[in-house]
Symmetry: C2
Subunit: 454 residues, 2 copies
């Protein structure tokens, strides 16, 4: 093990250089114009898996973006780990708020700035490099390993579940290892045992068949923007609870033990609010901020648009207005069911004077992993060895829909060895990744292989 | 008079050709990139005034777009008419909904299609041509005339009021003649005696200092889009009344006589709704559609935007959301006061978790003109002579802020000899102008000069 760790330390600078190359590729999965970049990025990952010493490295085409696979099964009788990650990234707008171009990585104060730095290129790269360190230092791994790296996580992984179902034997494993979540605090080893699910919808409200002069027609017809605003306002009650009938029926309540554990974590609401420059935090009454973001369902408008949005004034009653609305779900809510409940309620909120269209764009299941699984225990010990601190356990508000699929199809629980930080602007301008955690992550990964083999 | 009318009939085709030229000029006053077109358009108007036989034709520069002036004062002892119009037009978006390019006029079924056809190039051109017909047929006019044609009506005429105040003597007149409103029905001579005023504002709601991942942060902070929606929804009560405290205090109620006159007008709510393809009309309870659009104040969102508005999905809590909001005002509401009332109430609606910015973009006073003024009586008779039908009197929901200025500064009442139709898509794609009304308008204008002189 000492040789492996020494090798990691010695080659760390080269790892950072390779990560920089990875981050120059514009792998935005949602934009059709980046299709070629997606292919290029899959090839980059494939090359790095080969360089690391894996065999059977292969790029699987899908109807969307490609999936990269690689394996090494040279430890018979030992358990098998499936590493999952995604090489696609979020769009970059608003582009003018970036301090440096999103695909020209820059290192400042020990952090690397680029779109995808923390979500998820930097984090997934950790495990490729820990595998490489084993092969290049001691020649083999103590466990069997498989890599499954996809390019559609940011658009809801539409082709991954069918791929997993069609390749059950290929992907057979004892546990799944994922780094795509956050540390609770800088330098604090953390394992995440719960994730929220997601339903993402688009709603469109149409009034008159054309934009109308707001003078001649103002007062005659329902205005789709005003109507949409009113419908959105009715989705929450005055206590911040979601008003959709039946929405909370399948919500698993927080246990007393969990609420106590969360309370023990060092978390300052004041500092959190100050970081976001808001005068007060806000949400469902009766729950702390950690409880609300980790273990309670939420509903947010991700975008809204309608009518005249340019500079100056245009006096119209718009013909239509549109909003993107997402719901974060918790165990045991089901995304399709949540979307159906939303659609049926939302349509009921509409006055007769408008037409409403609801489109279910994508969704993902919430996840809860047992804390006593031997992979979780090994991962906790591994992070402690690398970081030199006791590991804490948390839940996370984001969604990785595929984790539920691993559980259901591969019957394998997932270790969420998150290495990012919520403050690293994932999905925002100036996304970055703390390189100290990159370094400690590679070591944590190496220790995990050792402890999980024992 | 017969010679004048004969001349108009003979030269009508050439008038249409000239109007076409007028409509090719992209005089969009709100867009900085069209500044040169605005200048070109002012020169076009100036040339046409000269060709018509006016003297002292002059282009006055302003800090915005130029004002065109011309006069003929060769009828001493006779009254003076000031013709007002505007050569600027609305933006053309959404451009993809136009059947033909907005600045390439096309005639179809006796209608001319182009941006500005009815609002206001086609309508103002009528009076230039009637003046020309007098000079070219009988050599002089029976009245004195002045033209004041501006280029900033669609952006709230910011430089016109100072110009009028600074040029009181130049613009001195007995009545103002404006064609920038609508006929009640095709072929129905109509005079408009009331206009609504306007307050146009932009509101911006800011939450967190950056876009946030809606998974990690959903439930922690107030979402500016949801908050803005909720604030907008509170601007009306369930009866469609505006909830701003004090908003209705200065509203002049409709008289019993007016309500009866409106009821007599041939108006089908069913046909009106069918034209707009809405299942039902909507607005303040207790008033008919004509009453609501002509004589009751209203509040509409003209546009809204915030967060991710592209194709596909982006899971963010936006940092801010913006809306354009306009209020149509009625006598005796004051635009600045209405804006102040709005701002103060709107800010009170905001939770502590967001910051709110309100910008008053522009405004205009409502107008009510006496029905027994001799100019109104002459105009009514003139339209009857041209159209061969009795003139009806109506109010109009749109705003022409400058009319109040004429009243206050020049002490002159305005004759609103509207020749457009509300169905002519002013401010929308496929704006057009019925050429039959163009022709009858030129004749009405010529008759008006004669009757007003008597």
């Amino acid at each position: 093990m000492e040789q492996v760790i020494a090798y990691i330390n010695k080659n760390y600078d080269s790892y950072v250089e390779q990560l920089k190359q990875f981050l120059t590729i514009k792998s935005i999965s949602t934009l059709p114009e980046n299709k070629a970049d997606m292919k290029k990025c899959a090839e980059f990952v494939s090359d790095k898996l080969k360089e690391a010493g894996l065999s059977k490295v292969q790029i699987f085409k899908t109807e969307g973006h490609p999936i990269v696979y690689g394996e090494w099964l040279g430890a018979p009788g030992k358990p098998t780990i499936l590493v999952y990650g995604h090489y696609d990234v979020q769009p970059v707008d608003p582009i003018d708020l970036w301090d440096s171009p999103p695909f020209e990585p820059v290192i400042k104060d020990g952090k690397i700035f680029a779109r995808g730095a923390t979500d998820d290129k930097g984090q997934l790269f950790v495990h490729i490099k820990s595998v490489e360190a084993y092969f290049k230092s001691v020649g083999s791994l103590p466990i069997n390993i498989k890599f499954l790296i996809e390019g559609e996580e940011e658009i809801g992984s539409p082709h991954l579940e069918p791929f997993i179902k069609a390749n059950k034997d290929l992907l057979k494993c004892d546990t799944v290892l994922v780094s795509d979540t956050s540390l609770f605090a800088p330098g604090q080893p953390t394992l995440t045992y719960g994730l929220r699910g997601l339903s993402y919808l688009e709603v469109e409200v149409t009034g008159p068949n054309r934009d109308l002069h707001s003078g001649s027609y103002g007062g005659a017809v329902a205005n789709p923007v005003n109507v949409l605003a009113s419908m959105i306002s009715k989705l929450h009650d005055k206590n911040g609870k979601i008003t959709i009938p039946g929405f909370y029926d399948s919500v698993l309540p927080l246990t007393k033990n969990e609420r106590e554990n969360f309370k023990k974590l060092k978390f300052s609401e004041k500092k959190y609010a100050a970081d976001l420059q808001v005068a007060e935090l806000s949400g469902e009454k009766g729950f702390s901020t950690l409880e609300r973001t980790w273990a309670r369902p939420t509903l947010d408008c991700n975008g809204i648009f309608g009518g005249f949005t340019g500079k100056g004034a245009k006096t119209i009653i718009p013909s239509k207005a549109t909003a993107k609305i997402s719901m974060r779900l918790v165990p045991n809510q089901e995304p399709k069911k949540a979307s159906k409940l939303f659609e049926s309620y939302f349509k009921k909120l509409a006055p007769k004077s408008v037409k409403v269209k609801v489109t279910d764009l994508h969704g993902g299941y919430p996840v809860l992993t047992p804390l006593n699984h031997k992979a979780t225990v090994a991962a906790s010990k591994a992070m402690e060895s690398a970081f030199g601190k006791k590991t804490v356990f948390m839940r996370e508000g984001g969604s990785i829909p595929v984790i539920a699929t691993f559980d259901k199809v591969l019957k394998a629980p997932t270790v969420l060895m998150g290495l990012g930080l919520n403050s690293e602007n994932l999905h925002s301008p100036n996304e970055h990744f703390n390189l100290k955690h990159f370094h400690l992550g590679i070591k944590s990964s190496a220790f995990f292989f050792k402890y999980f083999a024992e």
